[in-house]
Amino acid sequence: MIKKSPYEMLGLKDNFTFEDIKKAYRQKIRENPPEQNPQAFSEISDAYDILTNEEYFFKDAPKELYALAVDIKVDESPKRETSRYLKNIFEVPFQI
């Protein structure tokens, strides 16, 4: 199953060092305490473990696939005017 990237889970962008991971983790945990948001808390903890705990990393990371957040809006397809098309082409509805 494709999970969210652990770096993204912790909000780590371009400029950071390995030491910053801990800070980012603390910040995220403060924002998502377990009693309020248990799901997010568990995902953040998993992300932190993957990045900092070799046991988790060796167990999970080499097998896990991560997804990266992409926020693109897909254009909606123009709606076809069905009746316009049906007006133009005759189709015998019942077999003759």
Partner: protein, 725 residues
């Protein structure tokens, strides 16, 4: 002037042309030739049929203009409403609605009910398409209810009243399944639903509107225009649907769609990354690798890319990308070594080891991965044991890391791989290798406070060493055997490993060590009798392993279990016979019963505790009883063996065995033989008779008197005398 007569053509050939579907040829032959032996009626009939079939074929192929031309030719030969109704249908298809209305007006007056109904149906639709939306109620009522609702539904639809149209279509229930499907498709079109179900049999127009497929669509001007408009829309829709699937991480898409439709470079590469992940998830690793290679220069900007590349490479056999992988991971480390954990660096180095060992070591130096260098480089070249090496090793072994554990496993694997080359070594190389092995084993033996989590990898290394050392004859390198034996014993005790659970190579090594001779077989593969056995062997790794040595592992295990029980008994451990449970699955194997008897004998010999209780406990561990056939068979043989060492042991076992047999099972020959053995033991060793002996003697005489076993006759006569003494 003599008019040149028409050439002739055979009737048979003409019919043959018709049968093979060459209707155009049939028509031209009739026009050009005089057909031999054919009546006028026959000729007209075949000509009409040919025109009709030709028209139908053209219509099916979408060429309605030619279909109408065929029907017109047919009508010139024979005017009939049967054919005119077909022309009406074709005119409607060609969108010649004005002509259709004129023809329809005439045909709705037909006296043939079927033609009349068809004509009304087509006439009403043609009227609507011609712009006249008012329906003629009296005519409509002549149609079946289902067709009425269909026309009413269409009338509503053409006036853009989808709700009413759906209402009428709901009440239009055609009988034929194909028409039901058509109606369902039409409803889907009106509701704007996503297509579902099998769309192969529905009307081409509906299929075009639902999924953009144009196959079978009639070739009219309007249909061509509609087709062009819809194709563009569908291409756009498919692209959007694909992009949506990718964004929802549901399905990988053609990377060209991403490249063509996403202008932002950053977004594009993120989508490519996700697309590759989706391909890997669907196990399309080769495609994933191809895409990764195509975009590797961009993908390196993502910190997640190394793991993804490694996952892909682990699942493909591609060799061409090896160099690219090395370059990619080298650059990746350059970019991210400060952002990733040290163990992640080790992970990448470990992976690189498979591709270029010296390159991996160079990188390990660059990023100061000392443990990595120690295991991969220093340990492999150490020929002489040294205290500094030991100190380094102890320091590493004290603290557990997964990388070190992996590296120990790598070392074990390389030893096993080297084993295949040992036979090709020259003397010097061989000597060096033995020294190297010695240094390594000594290092292990002298290690101190090894972290408990290293148990599996250390055992793996010891297993590899046991396997490799047995390649060398014992008499040539006895020291190697001795230090390895010491090292294994040390770790078995240190980690508290159950000896039965030791790897086969180590068990075999113990046997080799005891015998002072390697039991490892020289030829690598067993001789297989037939192809099936060979296939079995290929599928069964255990079979291969078992063939490595000249011994039976199960018997070795049983012996280890027995020794463990005796040790437990001597040390007064609680539940001393607990290890026996491991043999429960081998209940039917004879050695287990022998082992149980031997263990009972040993327990009696040691004189620890109540013998009856001990025997009961041993038997209950394996749910064995003396009544079991396997015990019946071997008991007397074993008793003779025990009697030679300790008569008391033999007597106690026999007494217990005899007493444990239920009364209803005592009139068997094997039981009588037990009694005979007991009496003979007493008699031959001149033991003082007691009441138990007398009871057994009486029982023997009583049973033999009744059963009269021939083989017991001599004993019976002899024991009778004994009884009277």
């Amino acid at each position: 002037m003599n008019k040149k007569s028409k050439k002739t053509f055979s009737k048979k050939e003409l019919f043959s042309l018709f049968e093979s579907g060459n209707y155009q040829k049939v028509i031209s032959k009739i026009k050009q030739f005089t057909i031999e032996d054919i009546s006028h009626e026959e000729q007209e009939s075949i000509l009409l049929d040919s025109y009709q079939k030709l028209a139908h074929n053209h219509f099916i192929a979408g060429d309605v203009t030619r279909a109408v031309r065929d029907i017109d030719s047919l009508l010139q030969i024979h005017t009939s409403q049967k054919y005119e109704i077909i022309k009406l249908k074709y005119l409607c298809y060609m969108e010649y609605f004005a002509d259709a209305v004129v023809l329809g007006e005439r045909l709705i007056l037909s006296s043939d009910k079927k033609i009349k109904q068809e004509a009304i149906f087509l006439y009403q639709l043609a009227l609507m398409y011609n712009g006249n939306h008012s329906l003629e109620g009296t005519l409509l009522k002549l149609l079946p209810k289902s067709q009425q609702n269909y026309i009413l539904g269409f009338a509503a639809l053409l006036q853009e009243d989808g709700v009413s149209a759906l209402k009428y279509f709901e009440s239009s229930n055609p009988r034929a399944k194909i028409e039901k499907n058509n109606l369902e498709a039409l409803k889907m079109i009106i509701k704007g639903e996503k297509p579902k179900g099998d769309l192969s049999n529905i009307k081409p127009l509906y299929r075009l509107l639902l999924v953009g497929e144009e196959e079978g669509l009639v070739n009219t001007k309007n249909s061509r225009v509609v087709k062009e408009e819809l194709k563009g829309q569908f291409a756009n829709q498919n692209k959007n649907r694909a992009m949506e699937n990718l964004l929802l991480l549901q399905e990988a898409i053609d990377a060209k769609i991403i490249a063509q439709n996403v202008a932002n470079k950053e977004e594009k590469i993120l989508l490519i990354y996700n697309n590759i992940s989706l391909l890997v998830e669907k196990q399309k690793e080769n495609q994933a690798l191809h895409l990764f290679m195509q975009y590797k220069e961009d993908l390196i900007n993502l910190i997640e890319s190394a793991t993804l590349f490694i996952i892909i490479k682990s699942h493909t056999q591609d060799q061409k990308s090896n160099r690219a992988l090395i370059v990619f991971l080298t650059n990746y480390l350059k970019l991210y070594h400060q952002k990733i954990a040290p163990f992640q660096i080790d992970y990448i180095l470990l992976f690189l080891l498979n591709y270029d060992e010296s390159w991996a070591i160079n990188l390990a130096h660059t990023y100061n991965r000392e443990h990595f260098i120690f295991f991969v480089k220093e340990l492999s070249v150490a020929k002489v044991y040294s205290t500094s090496l030991q100190e380094k090793f102890n320091g590493i072994a004290k603290r557990y890391t997964m990388t070190n554990s992996h590296l120990i496993n790598v070392a074990a694997k390389s030893l096993e791989l080297l084993d295949e080359k040992i036979e090709q070594f020259d003397n010097q190389t061989r000597e060096n290798f033995v020294e190297q092995l010695g240094a390594l084993i000594q290092l292990l033996r002298n290690s101190d406070k090894v972290h408990r989590k290293y148990q599996a990898s250390f055992l793996n290394l010891l297993k590899a060493l046991a396997f490799v050392v047995q390649t060398f004859p014992y008499d040539r390198d006895p020291q190697l055997y001795e230090i390895l034996f010491d090292a294994i014993e040390y770790f078995v005790d240190y980690f508290g490993i159950n000896r039965v659970k030791l790897p086969l190579d180590i068990k075999a090594f113990f046997v080799s060590f005891d015998k002072k001779e390697s039991i490892r077989r020289r030829n690598k593969h067993p001789k297989h009798k037939n192809v099936f056995e060979f296939v079995d062997m290929m599928l069964n790794e255990e079979y291969f392993k078992a063939f490595r040595y000249d011994f039976k592992e199960e018997e070795y295990d049983a012996l280890a279990i027995k020794n463990q029980c005796i040790k437990n008994l001597q040390n007064a451990k609680e539940d001393p016979f607990a290890p026996l449970v491991a043999l429960k699955e081998d209940y039917y194997k004879s050695y287990v019963h022998q082992l149980v008897l031997d263990l009972i004998a040993k327990s009696i010999e040691l004189q620890i505790g109540n013998t009856d209780e001990i025997i009961r406990e041993i038997l209950s561990k394996l749910t064995i009883s003396f009544q079991d056939t396997m015990i019946q068979a071997g008991l007397i043989q074993s008793i003779k063996k025990y009697a030679k060492n300790d008569l008391r042991v033999a007597l106690v076992i026999l007494e217990y065995a005899i007493g444990s047999i239920e009364h209803n099972r005592r009139e068997y020959l094997w039981y009588l033989k037990w009694l005979e053995s007991y009496i003979l033991l007493f008699n031959n060793h001149h033991l003082k008779r007691n009441s138990l002996f007398d009871d057994i003697l009486n029982e023997f005489l009583k049973i033999q008197k009744k059963k009269k076993f021939k083989s017991m006759n001599a004993a019976y006569t002899r024991f009778l005398k004994l009884d009277t003494q």
